[in-house]
């Protein structure tokens, strides 16, 4: 499941990168920092990205999850800070629905 989630995130990032000015994410990979210290997304881009991701996950996994977390805007502990942390976070949410 981890690989499938990661693939969904990376594909969404590639699309997002094309929409943003100056392609701030370069070539997104597992190590790409998203938000917070060193991350390429500002809060507006993050909100847009989360919205895309929720929709794609709903389609691919046939499960509705809500990517909202009290730590979302935290620089240090946000689950949205990197592709890796986001993958873990989504996996946890999907498992909770089982």
């Amino acid at each position: 499941m981890t690989n499938k989630i990661e693939e969904v995130i990376l594909n969404s990032l590639i699309e997002l990168n094309e929409e943003l000015e100056n392609n701030p994410l370069g070539s997104p990979s597992k190590e790409t920092q998203l938000y917070g210290g060193g991350g390429a997304l500002d809060s507006m881009a993050l909100v847009s990205f989360i919205t895309d991701l929720e929709e794609i996950i709903s389609e691919k996994f046939d499960k509705d999850i809500i990517l909202a977390d009290e730590r979302a805007m935290s620089q240090k502990t946000s689950p949205f800070r990197s592709v890796e942390s986001l993958t873990r976070y989504i996996k946890k949410l999907l498992e909770e629905l089982n």
Binding site: S48, T51, D52, S58, D64, I66, A68
Partner: protein
């Protein structure tokens, strides 16, 4: 292109009248209530849910997006009222009122804004009450839940402004619906007396303000609270 309008609380009262009105002028209307719908129309969809049930709301909004690809307008109409002295108001009553009035408005606004953000267009109208502006005795909890909606309306209007989404609120005076039928007549007359224009509100009065808020030309109108009848904060 037909406008897609999502209205909460469409089984009866103002919500039902608004749904029928927007259907009559060629809009697509998506409604919801806790019980089965009462509107039959080719362009109407009904969802049976509690507006404070986060996952059910998410499903409804996603189903709407899937079928119609967009949502132009959200009217957070669903609401419950309660009249009581706060000393005799139960904890459960407070939870129920805040769940339906505030949490319902919050969840729908959040989920629908995600779609509006993508389409770079949206109009959200929330519902407050003159009881909030007037600090009416006996309506502490109801008015507090609406006060929360007012503040929320004005703050999120700033957060979504970059996406061309406006968020405003209407504060109706009493109109003759189920919501006030339990309120003693003298209380209602006292309330009408506090208005600059001393009469019951009508559906037409409410429709007029909502039409103004959701008009394409109202793109510069956001974070506003309009009370009917000449009440102000």
């Amino acid at each position: 292109m037909k406008k897609v309008i999502l209205i909460t609380g469409t089984r009866k009262g103002i919500g039902k009248e608004l749904a029928e009105y927007y259907l009559s002028i060629g809009c697509i209307v998506i409604g919801c209530s806790r019980s089965p719908g009462t509107i039959l129309h080719i362009d109407y969809r009904h969802h049976e849910l509690d507006v404070s049930n986060e996952l059910d709301v998410v499903k409804m909004v996603r189903a709407t997006k899937k079928e119609f690809s967009r949502i132009d307008v959200l009217l957070n109409n669903a609401g419950i009222a309660s009249m009581n002295h706060f000393l005799t108001t139960s904890y459960n009553t407070v939870q129920n009122i805040f769940n339906t009035n505030f949490l319902g408005t919050f969840i729908f606004s959040r989920e629908v804004s995600k779609i509006m953000m993508k389409q770079k267009y949206g109009r959200i109208v929330n519902y407050t009450t003159v009881a909030s502006a007037l600090r009416l005795e006996g309506e502490a909890v109801y008015a507090a839940s609406k006060g929360a909606i007012e503040n929320f309306t004005q703050t999120i209007s700033k957060e979504v402004a970059p996406f061309n989404i406006t968020v405003n609120a209407i504060g109706p005076t009493p109109i003759e619906t189920d919501l006030i039928k339990m309120v003693p007549k003298n209380k209602i007359l006292d309330l009408l007396d506090k208005q600059a224009i001393k009469r019951f509100g009508t559906f037409e009065d409410i429709k007029n303000v909502i039409d103004f808020f959701i008009d394409d030309k109202s793109e510069f109108i956001t974070g506003q609270i309009i009370y009917l009848g000449g009440i102000h904060n």
